[in-house]
Structures are given as C-alpha cells and as structure tokens.
C-alpha cells in the first residue's frame, strides 16, 4: 500500500475510533467529531489544490492571503459583535500586525519572497493574530457585561470613559497572550510545534526546522501582542460614548445606548 493511502486510511481509522469511543461514553460528541473531521478533509483538499495553483500563478498569492485575512476577521469579529463595527475592528487588529510582520520577514530576506514561503508564513501569523483578537475581544465583552457596576463606579468618581476601561483592557490583553507564552516557553520540551513537525516530515533537517520554528514563534509574540493591543484600543473606541460615558453591553449578542 502506498504511503499517501496509508496516511489517509490510518487517520480515518483514528477518527472513527474517537467517534466510537465518544458514542460508548455517551458524550454526545460523535457527530461533531465526524463532521469536524469531514470538514477538515474537504477544506484541506480544496486548499491543497488551490495552493498548488497559487504556486504556479504567483499573482494569485495576494488574493489567497486576502481571503485568509477576511475569513479570520469574520471568525474573530463574530466573537465581539456585541460592539458596533466588530468586523472592522477584527480586520484592523488581524491584518495590520500579521501582514506587517510577514512583509518584514520577506523584505529582510528571512524567508524567500515567493508564494511558497509567503502563504504559510502569512497563514501562521494571521492565525495567531486571530487567536489574540478573539481572546482579547471575548474577555473584554464579558467584562463589559459583568463589570458594568465597576465601570460606572469609576466614572462616578470622575474617571474619563477611556480610563474607566483601562483595568478591563489590561486584563483582557494579559489573558490573551497566556497560551502563546506557554507554548513558546514549552516549545521542544512539552510539544513539538506544528511548523517544526511539518518541516521535519517534509524532509527538512531538524536544525532548519528548529530555526524556522523559532523565527515563527518569536514573530508571533509581537504579532499577537500588537493584535491584542489593537483589539483593546479599537474596542475601547467603540465602547465609549460622547460625554465620558460607556456603552452598556447587555449580552454577547448586542448592545444598547442608554
């Protein structure tokens, strides 16, 4: 049996085993596991074919990256739709840091300025920026709902609206960076990060894989911090109202102006 066929069959067997186990344990997860696996298979097959096309027609690379940014922004934006302009906030917080860092890495020659290098690099950085935006935004929305008394107490004590939100945004930003900081700290010890695994399986030397993985992880630290900061800043602007007031957010789904 050829290696590609074996890869597909063994991974399908694993997900069937997971679904069977979930069914036996009555976790109500079997359908979700199978649907997620099916979706991933279709999406990766389509993306694989598309990327093969993009590698042949470099002009398509820009469009491909734009679609990645848009998809990431829709996903992250849905988490902060309690505030007006959520999608715009997400696009700004994801695109600026991720594309900026990709541009720098390619411009200084850290990676070759080819679609083959640009797309994976942009993809990882956009994914990281999306995670930071989602985590910061979701925490901030939760705190805007739960912390309404604290915010009003600070306003009543004479704080400007922006200042009254600072404790909330600091908590949200700090919380958003925890997963990446933990991942970076444990890289190579607890987990072998995806880039490293992919490169080694693809035939790169472990030294090369480690160097590229480190570049990606360290770049992600700045990208995610910038994304979290931008999310907090743009959400602060969306949450403040004229007259040093703060928008009352009553549920993660929506807001109202008092």
């Amino acid at each position: 049996m050829s290696q590609p066929l074996t890869q597909i069959l063994v991974s399908a067997a694993f997900v069937l085993a997971a679904a069977w186990l979930a069914h036996r344990q009555r976790l109500g997860l079997s359908r979700s596991l199978l649907t997620a696996a099916g979706r991933a298979a279709v999406q990766l097959a389509v993306v694989g074919a598309l990327i093969a096309l993009v590698f042949r027609v470099p002009a398509l690379a820009i469009a491909f990256v734009a679609v990645m940014v848009l998809t990431a922004s829709l996903t992250a934006g849905s988490r902060i739709r309690a505030l007006p302009g959520a999608r715009r906030i997400a696009i700004g917080a994801i695109a600026l840091p991720a594309l900026g860092a990709t541009g720098v890495l390619l411009a200084v020659g850290a990676f070759a300025a080819t679609p083959r290098a640009m797309i994976p690099t942009a993809g990882i950085l956009i994914g990281g920026a999306m995670l930071a935006t989602t985590l910061t935004g979701r925490r901030l929305v939760e705190d805007l709902i739960a912390g309404v008394d604290e915010i009003e107490a600070r306003l009543a004590l004479g704080d400007r609206a922006r200042d009254a939100l600072v404790p909330l945004t600091r908590r949200a930003i700090a919380g958003a960076l925890v997963p990446l900081i933990d991942q970076t700290r444990s890289a190579g010890l607890v987990t072998l990060p995806g880039t490293f695994v992919g490169l080694v399986l693809g035939g790169a030397s472990p030294e090369t894989a480690a160097r590229i993985q480190l570049t990606v992880l360290l770049t992600l630290l700045l990208v995610q911090l910038l994304s979290a900061l931008l999310t907090a800043e743009l959400m602060t602007r969306a949450a403040t109202l004229p007259g040093e007031r703060v928008r009352v957010v009553t549920s993660p789904e929506g807001h109202r102006v008092r």
Binding site: D149, E150, E152, A153, R154, L155, A156, L157, G158, D159, R160, P167, G243, E244, R245, R256, R258
Partner: protein, 236 residues
C-alpha cells in the same frame, strides 16, 4: 434660544424625560435639590429611581429636559468635573483593588489627600481610621457600603446622590448614615437619597420626591409617606 432658568442653589431639574427603547421611564419630571437639604427619592422597584440619579451626573443622557447646577446647565459642564461636584454612590458598593486608603484616594491628587481628610471621611461614614489599611476585598457588605460613601465624601462634592445606601446595613448602621447625611446637609451639602425604607426617608429628609408610573410628586415626608404606607423594596 434660552433654556429654563433657575435661582436654585443646587440642582434644579426641569421637564426631564427618559426612555429605555420603547419604554418611558420618566415623563416630564421637575424638582429641586437645594444645597443644605436632604431629599428622599422613593417609589416602587422599577419606578426609575436609579435612572433619575444617573441622569443627575450625566452617566445617562435624558431624551428631554434640563438639569441645572447652581443655575448652569449641566449639559454644558465638562462631565468629569460635573461628576466630582455631584457625587454618586451606586446601589452596588464596588470596591476597587487595593486598600481602603487607595479606594478613598482613587483619582485624587496625592498632595491633597491628607490622612486627616481620609480619616474624617471614614468617620462620617461610620468607620474608624483603622480601616484605612484594610484590603478592600476583605470588607463585609455593610463596610463596603460605608467605604463607598466615604470615597464619595473624600471628593468633597457639592451634592451627593445615594442609591439605597442602607440596603446592606442593620438598623443601627442605617441610623448612623441618616445622622451623617443630616449633618452633611447642615454643613451645606445637597443630598438626594433613593430608598425603599420609608421610615428612614421620613427621618432623614425634608423633602420627598415620589416616583410612580414615570411621573413625580414632590412633598413633605409626612403627607406623602402617609398616603403610601408601603412601597415594595428592590428585588433581593
């Protein structure tokens, strides 16, 4: 065009209307809160007492009406300055992180925050100075309510708005707060206190403003409270 005028030394509210979406909460409400007096704000739950207090320091912007402070339209005042002049102690006594001292001095110029000033504010709220270095997270509900009052007093406001200040207090502590508010009014402060505790309102206030179905009736405590022997309190 000129808006309503007022010679009242304190707050003068004229034609105030507030709606939350479709629902009218306050309709054409007018009253005064002169400095040197205590006004009780009473009415059933949901009558708009908290909404009204929040309008007075512009945490909430009314759909219609004018609120004058010493004859000056509060809409024209810088909001943060207004909120320092018109203090508000909300229904939930929120403690900020840190000690009681840090809570009292929050946002104030450290040069003006002297130990005697903090101790006096605490004493006015019924707590002794040993509380200054207590972590705010360790206080009981009643102590929090009093620290929140002291924190508002540290700002030396001209008017003080209190939303259910005795809700977390026992009878003795409520009595102390009532005496404090009377003393502060005698010293020139204008006080408006929203409460469902009618005996407390009758003891502490010269004027009573009763909200019902969005409108307000102003009167002396005895006549208004006698006409309304019971008002349902806030939801537990």
């Amino acid at each position: 065009m000129t808006g309503p005028r007022s010679d009242v030394n304190g707050l003068a509210v004229r034609g105030l209307s507030v709606a939350h979406g479709e629902r009218t909460v306050l309709r054409d409400v007018s009253f005064d809160v002169p400095k040197g007096t205590v006004t009780a704000l009473v009415g059933p739950s949901g009558a708009g007492k908290s909404t009204l207090l929040r309008c007075l320091n512009r945490l909430l912007v009314p759909q219609a009406g004018t609120i004058l402070l010493d004859g000056e339209d509060t809409a024209a005042l810088e909001p943060c300055t207004l909120r320092r002049r018109v203090g508000l102690v909300g229904q939930t006594p929120v403690m900020l992180p840190g000690s009681v001292r840090e809570n009292l001095a929050y946002g104030l110029d450290t040069a003006t925050v002297t130990e005697p000033r903090l101790a006096q504010a605490l004493a006015d709220a019924g707590l002794d100075r040993t509380f200054l270095d207590r972590p705010s997270g360790e206080l009981s509900g009643g102590e929090r309510a009093r620290v929140a009052l002291a924190r508002a007093l540290t700002r030396e406001p001209e008017l003080l708005l209190l939303d259910e200040p005795t809700a977390a207090l026992d009878a003795a502590a409520s009595e102390h707060i009532g005496a404090t508010l009377r003393a502060l009014a005698r010293a020139g402060l204008g006080v408006m206190v929203a409460t469902h505790d009618l005996p407390f309102a009758a003891t502490v206030a010269e004027h009573v403003l009763m909200l019902r179905d969005g409108t307000a009736v102003v009167g002396a405590p005895a006549e208004l409270l006698a006409a309304s022997p019971s008002i349902p309190g806030p939801q537990a």
